[in-house]
Every structure is written in C-alpha cells, then in structure tokens.
C-alpha cells in the first residue's frame, strides 16, 4: 500500500474568545483532536453540520489557521512550521476551492487576471504571452469560452464563477485540493456540472481531494471514503458506501436518517431519528463523549471518558458501543 499524501495527527485548532477585562480567557475548541489520512488520488469526504469544525480543518490544512496542537503531514513532511521555499512549494501542491463563488473572486480583477495571479505569484511562465495562453487553456478545461478573459466576475452566474475559481486553482497543477463546500451555494442543475468537472479533473491530473460539505448525498456520490465530524471530533470514518448503508455511530445514524430523499414513495415511509436538544457550545463542550448530551444510547461512562476510535472492519468509530 502506498503512503498517504496527507496525514493529520491529533489536530487541534482552538480560537481565543475575546472576553472582557475581568472575565477568564476562554477558547473555542473548533477542532479538538482529529486523526485521518488521505491516499493519493483519493477523495475524502468530510461531513458534519455547521459548527462541527469541518471548514476549520480544511483551513488549517492550507495554513490559513495555525494548529494549536498536532501535525499535518503532506507527503511525509510536517507542514505546520514550514517557511520560505518549502512553503512556496507547498502552496503549489496544495490548493483550495472556496464555498461562495460570489465572494471568492476579486470583483476588481478580470477573469484573466484572476486566473493568471497564481502564475504571477510563483513566476511560472517567463512571458506574459505564455501565461495568457495558459489562462485560455484553463478556461477551456473548465468549460468556459476563452474570450471571456476580459470580463469581470460579476457578469457571470454562480456556476460559471465557481468554474473560474477552479481554473485559478488548477493554474499551479496542484496535487491536493481542499474543496470547502464548493457546491453548496450553487443551483441544483449546476451542482452536478461542478461535481462532474471535479471528477474529470481528478482522473486527468491525478489529484486528491478533501471534499468538505454538508450535503450528504453529493458527498456520497463523489467520495471514496467519508469522515463524519461532530463538535470538533471525528466520530466515524469509513468507505462511503459502508457509512451510508450501515452507519455505526449514533450520530451518523441520526444524520443520515435526516437526509431528504428525492423519491416520494421512499420519503413517505422513511423513519427519521430526530435528535433531542441542540448542539452544545464548542466553548464548553460536554465532558467525555461530546455527543452524549443528545445520544439515545448514552451511559454514565460516556460522561466520564472520551471514547477512542476503534476499528470495526475497515472502519473506525469513536463510540463505546463498539469496543
């Protein structure tokens, strides 16, 4: 078996909360001890509800946030402290696609300037002409017309803008792309276009994805493996089909039962597991297992100890039920 392209070990990202002068300093535990690996050419789906820390994880991997603790290894090298040349090399290899196609493109730059920017930064081609040719080529790869090069982002629709964003990402020929909810702001008929585009690019250029999303049906479609997060913790990791067909962790079960099914006959019969209560605050998460306050199977032990990830077949699940 080959080595993972990305390995995250005990990743913790905590943010200080600006408290008053007299109050105690508090931290938001956005990500609290995460472990997972992504293989070359693989798509790893990261799902969870808002506030579970999935986007923070993605941003920590591309170094927008610095981890409080833990390691992020890319191709075997810890990237949490790299600088200078190594950092610049890392930037070329690891890129990110953003959620909001309306906010992720600078409104004052033309499409050509936007896609050319990464090449300008890393001095990839020596002449302007070469860069411009590459921009046209990239526009065609993502299905836009090369003569759109002088237009401004606001003239495009959401799906077109997202494709411009993808073209910019591809300009550096990255090996690994963090997709931070790339389709959640798009229309249904456009989502499939972007998903197919990402899949085609992956096949052609052999890229690995970390695909962050809250839309579980699309994640299932694109991902090889899936990790489910809850309140800064990974509760379950497994093959996409396994996780969907027989979820193990009580949270995964509840989450999947809540997915709306676009099939009226199935939807009418479907039994939903409705979770009690609300998401606890990440400033003061529950002791032991973070899910215990809403878990139908919680026991006294769940409040005392934090469950470690255990292997069940080729899956890993953090719950005492499977020890």
């Amino acid at each position: 078996m080959s080595n993972p392209i990305l390995k995250v070990t005990d990743l913790k990202v905590h943010f200080p909360v600006a408290g008053g002068v007299f109050s105690k300093k508090q931290v938001v535990k956005a990500v609290d001890g995460l472990n997972f690996e992504i293989m070359p050419g693989e798509t790893f789906g990261l799902v969870g509800e808002s506030g579970c820390g999935k986007s923070t994880t993605g941003r920590a991997i591309v170094k927008i946030y610095n981890p409080t603790e833990g390691k992020v290894e890319f191709n075997g090298e810890d990237i949490t402290k790299i600088k200078g040349k190594e950092l610049s090399q890392f930037r070329k290899n690891v890129q990110m696609i953003f959620q909001d196609p309306y906010a992720s493109l600078n409104p004052r730059m033309t499409v050509g300037e936007i896609i050319r920017e990464p090449m300008d930064i890393h001095n990839i081609y020596s002449t302007k002409k070469e860069r411009e040719n590459r921009v046209r080529e990239l526009l065609e790869i993502v299905g836009l017309k090369p003569d759109h090069i002088r237009r401004y982002p606001h003239e495009f629709s959401g799906g077109q803008r997202q494709r411009i964003g993808i073209a910019r990402t591809l300009a550096l020929n990255p090996k690994f792309i963090v997709c931070d909810e790339p389709i959640s702001a798009l229309d249904v008929s456009i989502q499939a276009q972007v998903i197919n585009l990402l899949e085609n690019i992956q096949k052609k250029m052999d890229i690995s994805y970390l695909f962050i999303a809250h839309d579980l049906s699309m994640v299932k479609h694109i991902s090889d493996r899936i990790g489910v997060m809850y309140l800064g913790n990974m509760v379950e990791i497994g093959e996409a089909d396994d996780v969907y067909n027989s979820p193990l962790h009580p949270y995964t079960q509840a989450l999947l039962s809540a997915v709306p099914i676009p099939d009226p006959k199935v939807a009418r019969q479907k039994k939903r597991i409705v979770l009690e209560g609300e998401l606890p605050s990440p400033i003061d998460p529950p002791s032991g297992c973070v899910f215990r306050t809403r878990c139908p199977n919680a026991t006294e032990r769940c409040a005392k100890e934090k469950p470690k990830a255990v292997k069940v077949g080729n899956r890993s699940v953090a719950c005492f039920l499977y020890e």
Binding site: S104, E117, H122, G165
Partner: protein
Amino acid sequence: MEENKVSDITLSPELFEKLDDSEKNAEKIAYESSTYLQDAWKRFKQNKLALIGLIFLLIMLVLSIIVPIISPYTYDGQDLTLQHAGSSLQHLMGTDKFGRDMLVRIMCGGRISLAVGFAAAAISLVVGVVYGAISGYLGGKVDMVMMRIVDAMYSIPDMLYVIMVVVAMGANFVSIMIGVCLTFWMDMARQVRTQVMTLKEQEFSLAAFVLGAGKSRILFKHLIINSMGPIIVTVTMIVPRAIFYEAFLSFLGIGIAAPQASWGTLANDAKGLVSTYPMEVIWPVLAICLTMLSLNFIGDGLGDALDPKKK
C-alpha cells in the same frame, strides 16, 4: 431582435427539426461588459444634484485658473480712484476698499482655497490609507497600538491643532495645510482600517493567501483596491471640510497673509462693511457656500455610485 417579436408563427415540420448545438447559447452573458468605473459613472450620472455639483466645481476650477491670467487686473493692483465700486462692465463684481478688482481677488482666493482643500485631501489620502491598511491588515497588537495613538490624537480638538501649527510655523499656505492634514488623516485611517478588516476575511483574499501571495500583494491588489469606493467618498468629504477650516482661520485673521487672499480673508476684510457695501461680503461667502455645497453633493452621489451593495 425583430424576429423575436414574432408571436403568430405558422407551425411547419421544419420548425420541429432538432436545433444544432451551435445555435444554442447556453453560456450566454446578458450583461454588457463594463468595468467598475463605467458602472459607477452610469449610476453617478443619474444623480442630478451630484452632476450639477460636479459641473459647478469644474467651472469654478477653470475660472480660478483662467480669470487671473486673462483679466487686465491683478489681485494686488490698487486703483484708489475707484474704491468700493459696485458691479460694472469694467469690474464685474466691483472693487474693494483699495479699488482692487473683486472678481480677480475671488478667483485668486479660489485658487488658494481649492488648493488647500485638494492638497489636504491628497495628503490625508496617502497617510491615512497606508496607516489604516497596515493597522487593519496586521491586526492584533500592532493594530491596538496604532489605533490607540489615533484615539489619543482624536481626543484633542481639531481647531487647537490647526491654530497651534499655524502659530508655530507662521501663517502661510503650507502651515495651514499641515494643520488641516493633522486632523483629517485619522478619519481616513479609521475608514480604511474597517474596510480592510472586513475584506481580509473575505474568501478572495483568503484565496490569494492560499495561492501564496505576499502581504503587500494582498494589501494592494486585493484589499485597498476593493476599499476604493469608501476611500474616494471620504476624500470628497475631506475637501470641503479643509476649505472650510482654511476659510475659518483666515476669517479669524490667522490665515493667509495680505495682500494674498483666500475666500476667508476676503470675507474678513469686508466684514466691517457689511451694512454699507454688503456685496463685498456676499461674493466670497457665496463662493464658499456654493463650492462646499457642490462638493457635498458630489460626495453623496459618489457614495451611492460606488457602493456596490446598492446595485
């Protein structure tokens, strides 16, 4: 476009032939291509008051440059035989107590007043943008220290600065400008800082960061360019305030020294004559009021035109 208006068409089999892919236009862009400035100008033009303001200001600028050059009179040329003359064909706005031509004096005053206004705005622009952008972008402790300095300076009344500087350096064009700038750059800095702080969290600046862009690239190509709207609006608001400060100082008698004159000094010179020769006060005051009014209208219009949210 004509054929799109067809509403009654006869259906024939050839109409039911499959459309070729080349006849479809699935990635059509309905908008005309336009840059940000073109868009802004389009919106600005719709604001009639702002447009009138702009035209008036341009006329004022041109007149204050040209009139003293082509006029047969100079601003300090006295004609003691013609004191306090009313409007006539020779002297359109009359003369003052030394028989100097009021029109030329007002236009020369306009040169000084407008120059003070625009120069103050330009200096505040540069200093304020750099200071504010650095403070907002770096954030954290740097931001705290830089902003506390501004807060401290803010707590001293504006006029006090200006008067102190003018008294220390002597009353001339440069000292007034420095005094005025000392207070106005802070408004600009605060404005830019807030802008930069919101913009740096936006996904496009994060994207630039992830692409490996350096600090100065992000700051200039992404953050400051996108703050241009509010920056320009702040500048247009600084100009009239600077003109007003200068006029105020000159009116108090600590402004531009004689025989040079700004609108403020002209009004000051004539203030004792308000009951006997009211026109000598009214002309400079009118010049100040109308210029300030048009600058404020322009500022308002720009605010609407440059604010993308109102689109």
